[in-house]
Amino acid sequence: MTGPAEDAPDDGYERPVGGAARIPGPRGAADDLHPLPVPRPVPAPQDVPEPPPTHAVLKSLLGAWALAACSAEETQAVEDHLTECAPCAEEALRLRDAVGLLHPEESLDLKPLLRSRVLEDCLGKRPARIPVPAWATPYDTETARLDALLRDFGDAEWHTPVQLKWFGDERRRSRDTTVAGVIGHLLTVDGLVATALGLDDPLGAQAPAGGTTRRTEFFWDSDRHPATGQVREPWREQGHTLVRTVSFAGHGVAELAVDYGSFALPLGDAFLERAFECWVHAWDIAEAVDYPYDPPSGPHLHRMIDLAARLLPAALAERRRAGLAGPARGLVAAGAPGRTLHLEIEGAGGGGWDIALDSPAAKPSSDHTVAEIALDGLEFCQLAAGHISPEDAAAGQHGDREAIRDVLFAAASLSRL
């Protein structure tokens, strides 16, 4: 422990309250100082001596004295006073012992996994009567993890620049903001889920219609946006409210449509998408402030990757309509097997997914596989988040090169601000 009162015993117990005069000061006072008041027979008119400090002033100094936070003259004056004033001497002793109880706040990081383990433990002992739906737990976990990262941030961290990256118009794009801006962005887009559930929109009644970008810019420009840590509380509270609300809603709520402007997702998928965004941006923040940040747990990562894999056929079709992907090879009746790409994701949360290439309505079929891609789970997530470009994705691949290119680009196109 470091501190000014290093000579004070730090157990804080059982100091005999003996003779007041023997209380040693927290800091060695200079020996050659005269005790106040300094006798001066004839004060010069322009040099009036300071009157001796009153009892009230000396008493008020006891805290500062115990912390060695007053001047040498004051220290001396207090210590002289302690020899003649028993109540002050008693208090001085008590306060000095209290200093020994001050500890530097340990910034012990709670292990992120501890939360899941504690909750599992609890629910094992007494099952929840109102559980959190399985599709909402990744969001619950990821928001809690990010919140734990933010806990000890001071103003400097909140103002740290962060670059948000995504893939759009066939290239990598980015936008500069701050840590507070990122949390504002999460608050804003989570707000789409909130409004779908009938909760208040964090942007208020003036919220612009349209997608995540317009909403985020509106929020950043508005005076609703605190540029500091004050944004944490509303974001966190909205997250808690979302989890709580869906816990109470019936089963059908997972199918409720969440409107993202240019597309919509069923609520269950929207929660996974928000969990994914939360993690990706937590990663951005952690990088900006130079902190380590772990990926989500395997089972949660698996759900997020599964969502991206399920969104790929529609993303592919949209790129095809925009002339950005190769044409479908023949019409496939809805539900009929069509050309398929096998996506093999390695590592924690990984697995195999068959992606229908010709139409979102076609049924993927291993008999019709024309290409295979193998990717590490985190690499795939980086790709889907627009953090790496499709050309740079380190993918093992074989088979139809156009199909592979189209799927990698479609994965990157899932990202947005």
Binding site: D11, L62, A64, S71, R94, K125, A128, V243
Partner: protein, 180 residues
């Protein structure tokens, strides 16, 4: 919160953890000085609250202070267990007293009004004298002296409190953690 826990709302359990996990873990760590042991206490404390939400009586104080008392009781019980037979009875009691005072002091510091805490932090950890602290905080020197004194007075109650009977029967030592 208590009602939500009582009716078995898992979302409330998550919120409870988010609010108090760092308090519970740091208090347990202060008493036991070991991270694995603190993790374990954290699991036990939340398990206890989740299984016994009705044990909290709002008339006895805030939920936060109740959680802190349970934690301290459980951690000190674990300390006793771990230290049993390692030294004289007197040494053990001394360790327990110190651990109790340290945990109470931590709780007092985290719960005291922010102006008092920031004054103490400046004077103690940043070694500012009270005049500098007053300038940093844009307050008068009188006020800086007042805050330092008041902050230490609050803190000193950690030593003055009775030793192990601070937890109401049922969830402090020795009641908590033993079969009832």
């Amino acid at each position: 919160m208590q009602q939500r826990l009582a009716r078995g709302e898992a979302a409330a359990l998550g919120e409870l953890y988010d609010r108090f996990a760092s308090l519970v873990h740091s208090l347990a760590h202060r008493v036991l000085g070991d991270e694995t042991a603190a993790d374990r206490i954290t699991r036990e404390v939340f398990g206890y609250i989740w299984e016994n939400p009705d044990a909290y009586d709002p008339k006895q104080g805030s939920l936060r202070s109740w959680v802190a008392r349970i934690t301290q009781g459980q951690a000190v019980a674990r300390l006793r267990q771990a230290e049993l037979g390692r030294g004289s009875r007197e040494e053990l009691e001394q360790k327990v007293r110190s651990a109790n005072a340290a945990a109470r002091a931590d709780y007092i510091v985290t719960s005291m009004p922010a102006p008092l805490r920031s004054a103490l932090e400046l004077a103690y950890f940043k070694r500012r004298d009270y005049r500098q602290a007053a300038a940093d905080l844009k307050i008068s020197e009188d006020e800086a002296r007042r805050r330092l004194r008041l902050g230490l007075q609050l803190l000193s109650t950690a030593n003055a409190l009775p030793r192990e009977d601070t937890a109401p029967p049922g969830y402090g030592p020795p009641g908590y953690g033993t079969p009832r």
